[in-house]
Protein backbone atom coordinates (compact mmCIF):
# COMPACT_ATOMS: atom_id res chain seq x y z
CA UNK A 1 0.00 0.00 0.00
CA UNK A 2 2.71 2.46 0.95
CA UNK A 3 4.42 1.45 -2.25
CA UNK A 4 1.40 2.61 -4.19
CA UNK A 5 1.52 6.01 -2.50
CA UNK A 6 5.22 6.29 -3.21
CA UNK A 7 4.57 5.45 -6.84
CA UNK A 8 1.78 8.06 -7.06
CA UNK A 9 3.99 10.72 -5.51
CA UNK A 10 6.89 9.93 -7.80
CA UNK A 11 4.60 9.92 -10.84
CA UNK A 12 3.12 13.30 -10.00
CA UNK A 13 6.36 15.03 -9.16
CA UNK A 14 8.71 13.55 -11.76
CA UNK A 15 7.83 10.60 -13.98
CA UNK A 16 4.48 11.86 -15.27
CA UNK A 17 4.96 15.52 -14.36
CA UNK A 18 2.06 17.39 -15.96
CA UNK A 19 4.14 20.45 -16.74
CA UNK A 20 7.17 19.00 -18.48
CA UNK A 21 6.20 15.40 -19.36
CA UNK A 22 2.49 15.20 -20.07
CA UNK A 23 2.47 18.81 -21.29
CA UNK A 24 -1.14 19.28 -20.26
CA UNK A 25 -2.51 22.59 -19.11
CA UNK A 26 -0.21 24.71 -21.24
CA UNK A 27 -2.45 27.77 -21.11
CA UNK A 28 -1.77 28.68 -17.46
CA UNK A 29 1.78 27.35 -17.67
CA UNK A 30 2.64 29.83 -20.38
CA UNK A 31 0.42 32.73 -19.38
CA UNK A 32 0.82 33.00 -15.62
CA UNK A 33 4.53 32.35 -15.20
CA UNK A 34 5.73 35.94 -15.47
CA UNK A 35 6.99 35.75 -11.90
CA UNK A 36 7.78 33.04 -9.35
CA UNK A 37 5.00 34.12 -7.00
CA UNK A 38 2.37 34.15 -9.74
CA UNK A 39 3.41 30.71 -10.97
CA UNK A 40 3.57 29.10 -7.54
CA UNK A 41 0.29 30.60 -6.36
CA UNK A 42 -1.69 29.42 -9.35
CA UNK A 43 0.09 26.06 -9.18
CA UNK A 44 -0.95 25.60 -5.57
CA UNK A 45 -4.54 26.63 -6.32
CA UNK A 46 -4.57 24.06 -9.13
CA UNK A 47 -3.14 21.40 -6.81
CA UNK A 48 -5.93 22.01 -4.28
CA UNK A 49 -8.60 21.86 -7.00
CA UNK A 50 -7.08 18.64 -8.36
CA UNK A 51 -6.91 16.98 -4.94
CA UNK A 52 -10.51 17.93 -4.15
CA UNK A 53 -11.93 17.01 -7.54
CA UNK A 54 -10.12 13.67 -7.59
CA UNK A 55 -11.14 13.00 -4.01
CA UNK A 56 -14.79 13.81 -4.60
CA UNK A 57 -15.20 12.05 -7.95
CA UNK A 58 -13.68 8.81 -6.74
CA UNK A 59 -16.33 7.91 -4.10
CA UNK A 60 -19.23 8.54 -6.49
CA UNK A 61 -17.66 6.90 -9.52
CA UNK A 62 -19.88 3.82 -9.50
CA UNK A 63 -23.04 5.95 -9.61
CA UNK A 64 -21.98 7.78 -12.75
CA UNK A 65 -23.03 6.08 -16.00
CA UNK A 66 -20.12 6.13 -18.42
CA UNK A 67 -22.09 8.10 -21.06
CA UNK A 68 -22.37 11.16 -18.87
CA UNK A 69 -19.17 10.86 -16.90
CA UNK A 70 -17.42 13.78 -18.62
CA UNK A 71 -20.25 16.29 -18.02
CA UNK A 72 -20.55 15.11 -14.42
CA UNK A 73 -16.80 15.44 -13.87
CA UNK A 74 -16.77 18.91 -15.39
CA UNK A 75 -19.70 19.87 -13.21
CA UNK A 76 -17.88 18.70 -10.10
CA UNK A 77 -14.67 20.52 -11.10
CA UNK A 78 -16.49 23.73 -12.00
CA UNK A 79 -18.39 23.71 -8.72
CA UNK A 80 -15.21 23.21 -6.71
CA UNK A 81 -13.34 25.92 -8.58
CA UNK A 82 -16.16 28.40 -8.07
CA UNK A 83 -16.29 27.56 -4.38
CA UNK A 84 -12.53 28.11 -4.08
CA UNK A 85 -12.81 31.33 -6.07
CA UNK A 86 -15.47 32.65 -3.70
CA UNK A 87 -13.62 31.47 -0.59
CA UNK A 88 -10.40 33.18 -1.74
CA UNK A 89 -12.27 36.34 -2.57
CA UNK A 90 -13.85 36.38 0.86
CA UNK A 91 -10.94 35.36 3.07
CA UNK A 92 -7.75 36.13 1.11
CA UNK A 93 -8.73 39.16 -0.89
CA UNK A 94 -5.22 40.38 -1.86
CA UNK A 95 -4.31 36.96 -3.22
CA UNK A 96 -7.59 36.85 -5.08
CA UNK A 97 -6.74 40.16 -6.69
CA UNK A 98 -3.53 38.67 -8.05
CA UNK A 99 -4.95 35.34 -9.20
CA UNK A 100 -8.57 36.34 -9.71
CA UNK A 101 -8.76 36.01 -13.45
CA UNK A 102 -6.74 32.80 -13.57
CA UNK A 103 -8.75 30.80 -11.07
CA UNK A 104 -11.78 30.32 -13.34
CA UNK A 105 -9.28 29.12 -15.95
CA UNK A 106 -8.49 26.10 -13.76
CA UNK A 107 -11.83 24.63 -14.90
CA UNK A 108 -10.64 24.37 -18.46
CA UNK A 109 -7.18 23.13 -17.53
CA UNK A 110 -6.96 19.72 -19.21
CA UNK A 111 -4.82 18.25 -16.48
CA UNK A 112 -7.64 18.42 -13.93
CA UNK A 113 -10.11 16.51 -16.09
CA UNK A 114 -7.36 14.21 -17.31
CA UNK A 115 -6.52 13.04 -13.77
CA UNK A 116 -10.18 12.67 -12.80
CA UNK A 117 -10.86 10.64 -15.94
CA UNK A 118 -7.72 8.52 -15.92
CA UNK A 119 -7.14 8.06 -12.19
CA UNK A 120 -10.03 9.02 -9.90
CA UNK A 121 -12.59 7.21 -12.07
CA UNK A 122 -10.74 3.93 -11.49
CA UNK A 123 -9.24 4.21 -7.99
CA UNK A 124 -10.26 4.63 -4.37
CA UNK A 125 -10.69 8.00 -2.72
CA UNK A 126 -7.45 8.28 -0.76
CA UNK A 127 -5.06 7.35 -3.58
CA UNK A 128 -7.09 9.61 -5.89
CA UNK A 129 -6.77 12.52 -3.52
CA UNK A 130 -3.05 11.98 -3.27
CA UNK A 131 -2.71 11.62 -7.03
CA UNK A 132 -4.55 14.88 -7.64
CA UNK A 133 -2.47 16.70 -5.08
CA UNK A 134 0.87 15.30 -6.30
CA UNK A 135 0.07 15.94 -9.95
CA UNK A 136 -0.90 19.48 -8.98
CA UNK A 137 2.22 19.94 -6.88
CA UNK A 138 4.34 18.74 -9.79
CA UNK A 139 2.70 21.37 -11.95
CA UNK A 140 3.12 24.01 -9.24
CA UNK A 141 6.85 23.27 -9.06
CA UNK A 142 7.24 23.65 -12.81
CA UNK A 143 5.22 26.88 -12.76
CA UNK A 144 7.30 28.19 -9.87
CA UNK A 145 10.64 27.36 -11.48
CA UNK A 146 9.56 28.68 -14.87
CA UNK A 147 8.16 31.84 -13.27
CA UNK A 148 11.35 32.30 -11.27
CA UNK A 149 13.52 31.87 -14.35
CA UNK A 150 11.52 34.34 -16.41
CA UNK A 151 11.42 36.84 -13.57
CA UNK A 152 15.15 36.55 -12.92
CA UNK A 153 16.13 36.94 -16.55
CA UNK A 154 13.39 39.41 -17.44
CA UNK A 155 13.37 41.72 -14.45
CA UNK A 156 16.39 40.78 -12.35
CA UNK A 157 14.27 40.07 -9.26
CA UNK A 158 12.93 36.99 -7.53
CA UNK A 159 9.66 36.63 -5.59
CA UNK A 160 8.43 40.12 -6.44
CA UNK A 161 4.78 40.48 -5.53
CA UNK A 162 5.20 38.36 -2.43
CA UNK A 163 3.73 41.24 -0.45
CA UNK A 164 0.47 40.87 -2.40
CA UNK A 165 0.16 37.36 -1.00
CA UNK A 166 1.51 37.72 2.54
CA UNK A 167 1.04 41.41 3.26
CA UNK A 168 3.50 44.32 3.15
CA UNK A 169 5.85 42.64 5.67
CA UNK A 170 6.85 40.11 3.02
CA UNK A 171 8.36 42.83 0.85
CA UNK A 172 11.75 42.30 2.48
CA UNK A 173 11.95 38.79 1.02
CA UNK A 174 11.94 40.10 -2.52
CA UNK A 175 15.38 39.44 -3.90
CA UNK A 176 16.81 42.02 -6.22
CA UNK A 177 19.74 40.34 -7.83
CA UNK A 178 21.00 43.30 -9.76
CA UNK A 179 19.67 46.75 -8.97
CA UNK A 180 21.08 48.23 -12.16
CA UNK A 181 19.45 45.61 -14.37
CA UNK A 182 17.33 47.01 -17.16
CA UNK A 183 15.51 43.81 -17.84
CA UNK A 184 15.45 41.40 -20.72
CA UNK A 185 11.98 41.92 -22.04
CA UNK A 186 11.85 38.75 -24.12
CA UNK A 187 11.81 36.58 -21.02
CA UNK A 188 8.69 38.25 -19.62
CA UNK A 189 6.82 38.27 -22.93
CA UNK A 190 5.12 35.11 -24.29
CA UNK A 191 8.17 33.89 -26.29
CA UNK A 192 10.07 33.73 -23.00
CA UNK A 193 7.47 31.30 -21.70
CA UNK A 194 8.02 28.94 -24.65
CA UNK A 195 11.81 29.22 -24.47
CA UNK A 196 11.82 28.68 -20.72
CA UNK A 197 9.48 25.71 -20.86
CA UNK A 198 11.51 24.20 -23.68
CA UNK A 199 14.68 24.54 -21.61
CA UNK A 200 13.00 22.88 -18.62
CA UNK A 201 11.79 19.96 -20.75
CA UNK A 202 15.29 19.62 -22.22
CA UNK A 203 16.82 19.66 -18.74
CA UNK A 204 14.48 16.96 -17.50
CA UNK A 205 15.12 14.79 -20.55
CA UNK A 206 18.87 15.27 -20.17
CA UNK A 207 18.71 14.09 -16.55
CA UNK A 208 16.61 11.08 -17.56
CA UNK A 209 18.95 10.13 -20.41
CA UNK A 210 21.98 10.40 -18.17
CA UNK A 211 20.26 8.26 -15.56
CA UNK A 212 19.37 5.65 -18.19
CA UNK A 213 22.92 5.67 -19.59
CA UNK A 214 24.34 5.19 -16.11
CA UNK A 215 21.96 2.32 -15.42
CA UNK A 216 23.02 0.75 -18.73
CA UNK A 217 26.74 0.97 -18.00
CA UNK A 218 26.33 -0.47 -14.52
CA UNK A 219 24.24 -3.36 -15.85
CA UNK A 220 26.82 -3.89 -18.62
CA UNK A 221 29.53 -3.95 -16.02
CA UNK A 222 27.53 -6.40 -13.94
CA UNK A 223 27.04 -8.57 -17.01
CA UNK A 224 30.72 -8.55 -17.95
CA UNK A 225 31.59 -9.33 -14.35
CA UNK A 226 29.34 -12.35 -14.55
CA UNK A 227 30.85 -13.56 -17.81
CA UNK A 228 34.40 -13.34 -16.54
Amino acid sequence: MTNQYKEITLNGLWKQNSGVVQLLGMCPTLAVTTSAVNGLSLGLATAIVMALSNGSVSPVRQFVPSEIRVPVFILVIATLVTVIDMALNAFAHPLHKVLGIFIPLIVVNCIVLARVESFAAKNDAVPSLLDGFMMGTGLALVLGVLGGLRELVGKGTLFSGLDLVFGPAAKQFVLTVNTDYHGFLLAVLPPGAFLGLGSLIALRNWIEIRKAAKANTTSDMAKSALIH
Binding site: V32, V72, T82, N89, H93
Partner: protein
Protein backbone atom coordinates in the same frame (compact mmCIF):
# COMPACT_ATOMS: atom_id res chain seq x y z
CA UNK B 1 -33.04 -8.11 -15.98
CA UNK B 2 -31.66 -5.97 -18.78
CA UNK B 3 -32.59 -2.32 -18.91
CA UNK B 4 -34.69 -1.04 -21.76
CA UNK B 5 -33.23 1.95 -23.60
CA UNK B 6 -35.89 4.16 -22.03
CA UNK B 7 -35.03 3.01 -18.52
CA UNK B 8 -31.37 3.58 -19.23
CA UNK B 9 -32.01 7.08 -20.56
CA UNK B 10 -34.14 7.92 -17.57
CA UNK B 11 -31.51 6.70 -15.15
CA UNK B 12 -28.78 8.67 -16.89
CA UNK B 13 -30.86 11.84 -16.98
CA UNK B 14 -31.78 11.47 -13.34
CA UNK B 15 -28.15 11.03 -12.32
CA UNK B 16 -27.13 14.13 -14.23
CA UNK B 17 -29.95 16.08 -12.62
CA UNK B 18 -29.01 14.95 -9.13
CA UNK B 19 -25.42 16.03 -9.68
CA UNK B 20 -26.53 19.37 -11.09
CA UNK B 21 -28.81 19.89 -8.09
CA UNK B 22 -26.08 19.00 -5.64
CA UNK B 23 -23.64 21.35 -7.38
CA UNK B 24 -26.14 24.19 -7.42
CA UNK B 25 -27.00 23.69 -3.77
CA UNK B 26 -23.32 23.73 -2.81
CA UNK B 27 -22.74 26.90 -4.84
CA UNK B 28 -25.79 28.63 -3.37
CA UNK B 29 -24.63 27.75 0.13
CA UNK B 30 -21.09 29.04 -0.46
CA UNK B 31 -22.36 32.15 -2.18
CA UNK B 32 -24.49 32.90 0.85
CA UNK B 33 -21.74 32.44 3.43
CA UNK B 34 -19.08 34.32 1.45
CA UNK B 35 -21.29 37.20 0.30
CA UNK B 36 -20.81 39.45 3.31
CA UNK B 37 -17.01 38.94 3.61
CA UNK B 38 -16.61 39.48 -0.14
CA UNK B 39 -18.58 42.72 -0.03
CA UNK B 40 -16.58 43.85 2.96
CA UNK B 41 -13.22 43.08 1.40
CA UNK B 42 -14.20 44.71 -1.91
CA UNK B 43 -15.22 47.81 -0.03
CA UNK B 44 -11.99 47.74 1.91
CA UNK B 45 -9.91 47.28 -1.25
CA UNK B 46 -11.71 50.17 -2.90
CA UNK B 47 -11.20 52.41 0.11
CA UNK B 48 -7.52 51.44 0.22
CA UNK B 49 -7.25 52.49 -3.41
CA UNK B 50 -9.00 55.78 -2.69
CA UNK B 51 -6.60 56.34 0.18
CA UNK B 52 -3.69 56.23 -2.26
CA UNK B 53 -5.02 59.15 -4.26
CA UNK B 54 -6.97 61.09 -1.65
CA UNK B 55 -5.72 61.26 1.95
CA UNK B 56 -8.25 60.22 4.55
CA UNK B 57 -7.92 63.59 6.22
CA UNK B 58 -9.35 65.24 3.11
CA UNK B 59 -12.88 63.97 3.65
CA UNK B 60 -15.19 62.87 6.42
CA UNK B 61 -18.14 61.44 4.52
CA UNK B 62 -18.97 57.94 3.36
CA UNK B 63 -16.97 58.15 0.16
CA UNK B 64 -18.24 54.84 -1.17
CA UNK B 65 -21.89 55.76 -1.01
CA UNK B 66 -21.74 59.45 -1.84
CA UNK B 67 -21.82 58.96 -5.56
CA UNK B 68 -23.09 60.68 -8.67
CA UNK B 69 -23.90 58.68 -11.75
CA UNK B 70 -22.36 60.24 -14.84
CA UNK B 71 -23.71 59.66 -18.33
CA UNK B 72 -21.27 58.33 -20.96
CA UNK B 73 -18.85 61.09 -21.80
CA UNK B 74 -16.28 61.53 -24.54
CA UNK B 75 -14.04 63.45 -22.16
CA UNK B 76 -13.95 60.54 -19.75
CA UNK B 77 -13.70 58.04 -22.58
CA UNK B 78 -16.67 56.20 -21.14
CA UNK B 79 -19.23 54.35 -23.21
CA UNK B 80 -21.38 53.41 -20.24
CA UNK B 81 -22.55 55.46 -17.29
CA UNK B 82 -19.80 55.76 -14.70
CA UNK B 83 -19.77 56.61 -11.04
CA UNK B 84 -18.07 59.60 -9.48
CA UNK B 85 -17.37 59.48 -5.77
CA UNK B 86 -17.78 62.80 -4.01
CA UNK B 87 -15.53 63.58 -1.08
CA UNK B 88 -16.90 66.04 1.47
CA UNK B 89 -15.37 67.72 4.48
CA UNK B 90 -17.74 69.44 6.90
CA UNK B 91 -20.56 69.05 4.34
CA UNK B 92 -18.54 70.96 1.74
CA UNK B 93 -17.44 69.23 -1.42
CA UNK B 94 -13.72 68.65 -1.03
CA UNK B 95 -13.04 66.65 -4.13
CA UNK B 96 -14.24 64.22 -6.75
CA UNK B 97 -12.96 60.82 -7.78
CA UNK B 98 -13.52 60.15 -11.46
CA UNK B 99 -13.02 57.08 -13.57
CA UNK B 100 -11.58 57.69 -17.00
CA UNK B 101 -10.54 55.44 -19.87
CA UNK B 102 -7.78 56.11 -22.39
CA UNK B 103 -8.54 54.29 -25.63
CA UNK B 104 -5.29 55.19 -27.38
CA UNK B 105 -2.82 53.15 -25.36
CA UNK B 106 -0.35 50.83 -27.05
CA UNK B 107 -2.60 47.83 -26.54
CA UNK B 108 -6.14 48.15 -25.36
CA UNK B 109 -7.82 50.51 -22.95
CA UNK B 110 -6.09 52.04 -19.95
CA UNK B 111 -8.48 52.55 -17.06
CA UNK B 112 -7.66 55.38 -14.69
CA UNK B 113 -8.92 56.59 -11.36
CA UNK B 114 -8.40 60.32 -10.87
CA UNK B 115 -8.96 62.28 -7.67
CA UNK B 116 -9.50 66.00 -8.23
CA UNK B 117 -9.73 68.49 -5.37
CA UNK B 118 -12.51 71.06 -5.31
CA UNK B 119 -10.05 73.74 -6.46
CA UNK B 120 -9.35 71.80 -9.65
CA UNK B 121 -5.95 70.42 -8.70
CA UNK B 122 -5.14 66.74 -8.93
CA UNK B 123 -4.77 64.89 -5.68
CA UNK B 124 -3.65 61.66 -7.31
CA UNK B 125 -4.01 59.34 -10.28
CA UNK B 126 -3.82 55.56 -10.42
CA UNK B 127 -4.03 53.06 -13.25
CA UNK B 128 -6.78 50.56 -12.52
CA UNK B 129 -6.23 48.26 -15.47
CA UNK B 130 -4.04 48.20 -18.53
CA UNK B 131 -2.59 45.82 -21.10
CA UNK B 132 0.58 47.73 -21.92
CA UNK B 133 3.78 45.82 -22.66
CA UNK B 134 5.31 44.43 -19.47
CA UNK B 135 8.68 46.01 -18.81
CA UNK B 136 8.13 48.80 -21.32
CA UNK B 137 4.84 50.60 -21.03
CA UNK B 138 3.83 49.35 -17.62
CA UNK B 139 5.68 52.04 -15.68
CA UNK B 140 2.40 53.97 -15.63
CA UNK B 141 1.32 51.43 -13.00
CA UNK B 142 2.38 52.41 -9.48
CA UNK B 143 3.65 48.87 -8.85
CA UNK B 144 6.18 49.36 -11.65
CA UNK B 145 7.19 52.97 -11.28
CA UNK B 146 6.54 56.34 -9.75
CA UNK B 147 5.74 58.03 -13.04
CA UNK B 148 2.03 58.38 -12.30
CA UNK B 149 2.90 60.62 -9.34
CA UNK B 150 3.98 63.34 -11.80
CA UNK B 151 0.32 64.29 -11.91
CA UNK B 152 0.12 65.05 -8.19
CA UNK B 153 -0.88 68.70 -7.59
CA UNK B 154 -1.09 69.43 -11.30
CA UNK B 155 -4.01 71.51 -12.48
CA UNK B 156 -5.26 73.38 -15.51
CA UNK B 157 -4.44 76.71 -13.89
CA UNK B 158 -0.89 75.55 -13.11
CA UNK B 159 -0.30 74.08 -16.54
CA UNK B 160 -2.42 75.26 -19.46
CA UNK B 161 -3.58 72.55 -21.91
CA UNK B 162 -0.63 72.98 -24.30
CA UNK B 163 1.71 71.71 -21.58
CA UNK B 164 -0.30 68.54 -21.14
CA UNK B 165 1.89 66.49 -23.42
CA UNK B 166 4.96 64.34 -23.05
CA UNK B 167 8.27 66.22 -23.37
CA UNK B 168 8.90 64.71 -26.78
CA UNK B 169 5.77 66.47 -28.09
CA UNK B 170 6.68 69.76 -26.41
CA UNK B 171 4.81 69.26 -23.16
CA UNK B 172 6.02 69.10 -19.58
CA UNK B 173 5.61 65.41 -18.79
CA UNK B 174 8.56 63.09 -18.64
CA UNK B 175 8.40 59.70 -20.30
CA UNK B 176 10.63 56.71 -20.75
CA UNK B 177 12.42 56.19 -24.01
CA UNK B 178 10.94 53.36 -26.00
CA UNK B 179 7.42 53.80 -24.72
CA UNK B 180 5.87 57.13 -25.57
CA UNK B 181 2.48 55.98 -26.77
CA UNK B 182 1.43 54.82 -23.31
CA UNK B 183 2.25 58.01 -21.33
CA UNK B 184 0.89 60.12 -24.19
CA UNK B 185 -2.46 58.36 -23.82
CA UNK B 186 -2.47 58.72 -20.03
CA UNK B 187 -1.55 62.42 -20.10
CA UNK B 188 -4.32 63.06 -22.62
CA UNK B 189 -6.87 61.14 -20.56
CA UNK B 190 -5.98 63.01 -17.36
CA UNK B 191 -6.20 66.35 -19.17
CA UNK B 192 -9.61 65.46 -20.54
CA UNK B 193 -10.79 64.37 -17.11
CA UNK B 194 -9.74 67.76 -15.72
CA UNK B 195 -11.64 69.46 -18.51
CA UNK B 196 -14.64 67.29 -17.74
CA UNK B 197 -14.38 68.36 -14.11
CA UNK B 198 -14.29 72.06 -15.05
CA UNK B 199 -17.26 71.74 -17.39
CA UNK B 200 -19.38 69.71 -14.99
CA UNK B 201 -18.35 71.27 -11.70
CA UNK B 202 -21.80 72.61 -10.95
CA UNK B 203 -23.48 69.32 -11.61
CA UNK B 204 -20.94 67.35 -9.58
CA UNK B 205 -21.17 69.71 -6.65
CA UNK B 206 -24.92 70.17 -6.72
CA UNK B 207 -26.24 66.72 -7.29
CA UNK B 208 -24.50 65.26 -4.34
CA UNK B 209 -26.97 66.77 -1.91
CA UNK B 210 -29.85 64.55 -2.81
CA UNK B 211 -28.27 61.30 -3.90
CA UNK B 212 -29.78 58.34 -2.22
CA UNK B 213 -27.77 55.61 -3.84
CA UNK B 214 -26.89 53.25 -1.05
CA UNK B 215 -25.27 50.35 -2.81
CA UNK B 216 -21.54 50.16 -3.18
CA UNK B 217 -20.59 50.61 -6.83
CA UNK B 218 -19.35 47.29 -8.04
CA UNK B 219 -16.21 47.97 -9.93
CA UNK B 220 -13.63 45.43 -8.89
CA UNK B 221 -10.03 46.30 -9.48
CA UNK B 222 -9.11 44.38 -12.53
CA UNK B 223 -5.95 42.91 -13.75
CA UNK B 224 -6.05 42.21 -17.41
CA UNK B 225 -5.14 38.83 -18.76
CA UNK B 226 -1.58 38.93 -20.04
Amino acid sequence: MAETPIQHTLKTTLTMMIFALLGTALLAYFFEITRVPIEASEKEARLALFKQILPESAYDNALLTDVVELPPSALLGSQHPTIANIAKLNHQVAGVILEAVAHDGYSGDIKLLIAIRADGSISGVRVLAHKETPGLGDYIDITHGKWIQLFNDESLSKSPPQFWQVKKDGGKFDYMVGATITPRAVVKAVLKALQFFEQNKKMLFAEVKNTTITSVPSMPIQREKP
